[in-house]
Symmetry: C2
Subunit: 217 residues, 2 copies
Amino acid sequence: MTSTAPSNSHIVPSKVRQHIHIPAREGRGVKLAAGEYIRIIDLEGQQIGDTFAYDVNDVNEYHSAPHTRAVWSRLFPRVGEAFITNRRRPILTLVEDNSPGIHDMKIAACDLPRYTADPPYGLGVEGWHASCQENCEKVMADFGFPNIVVPQSINLFMDTPALEDGRIAWLEATTKPGDNVVLRAEMECYLVVSACPQDILVINATQPSPMAIDVLG
Amino acid sequence: MTSTAPSNSHIVPSKVRQHIHIPAREGRGVKLAAGEYIRIIDLEGQQIGDTFAYDVNDVNEYHSAPHTRAVWSRLFPRVGEAFITNRRRPILTLVEDNSPGIHDMKIAACDLPRYTADPPYGLGVEGWHASCQENCEKVMADFGFPNIVVPQSINLFMDTPALEDGRIAWLEATTKPGDNVVLRAEMECYLVVSACPQDILVINATQPSPMAIDVLG
């Protein structure tokens, strides 16, 4: 069964084979085989998970927001549709969405200059601040890739809609404790999730909180 | 004068110092000094120009659509606002828009698999097809960078709006012959424009045509 059309025909394993806790403001990763399922969980609610996926055989191939939009002609895939790589291959399919179904794929992962640069380019924070980009870089360095391209993140649970006039609004995430999505790996890949440390804007209700990755099967 | 707020206070030079013709389906580039102005022209109308900019001092820094959206909270900058790099610095400011003002920054540059992969990932074309990604790679190789990351393009004149329900429509470009935009380099950069060779979808009215870059001053 390919993921060429929205479908709920995937059989999601019910057992949790590995539980990975993601402390607030940190990132964690896991190497997935093709066909494996994972559940990404917002444990306490109103928490965004910046998600990344890299091909194990060549980390220069990774999930890509602009390629995914081009394939599905949508701002975000529907359940049954896959995130596509920068080489136009499916890497992760969105299999279940047990959340309000509001996600973002327009905004870059937060990075150090997002916090420390002067407005309008950054938020004018003094000193170091945790960021989803640094979290992704750390996880991928632990996997053996110290100099990685960090692609535009899949921002699970992030409520930053495109308005009719072209503006983007920054709203509090609407998720409740335990809300989650299930993804299926379409190729052997490194999956990274960062529990977004953004505490200046309201998107995490200004209280970054932990998340979890359950590997199923 | 910085580009922190929309403004028309730039004084655009009236003289054309260098005229660069871009044949249909091809790409061309130019190295710009900080402060230089260029005009990108749709010569015959209904033609999209995929535009890219790289920092001359480190080509791992380049214009970035998701960072630009984050800084301006908009799907596309307004006149007076700058395109931002993946390190949160302004690289090109949109100074004048002498066109219907419809541009895209949601969709990846077309690449070979966009044409040759089987649907839904590609368009099922047999054999080689020109692409904006290959055009950018060729230009940057000529500048001495054979292995470049091709960022998500700034798709000038491309009419692919985000609809209210999250879908993206693919429409014919609405530009008339001679429509153009003026950009100002905010740092020394390589600028690349590809006259998009897309002739399967209707976005170039299925008739790819030439463009031009005028370096002003």
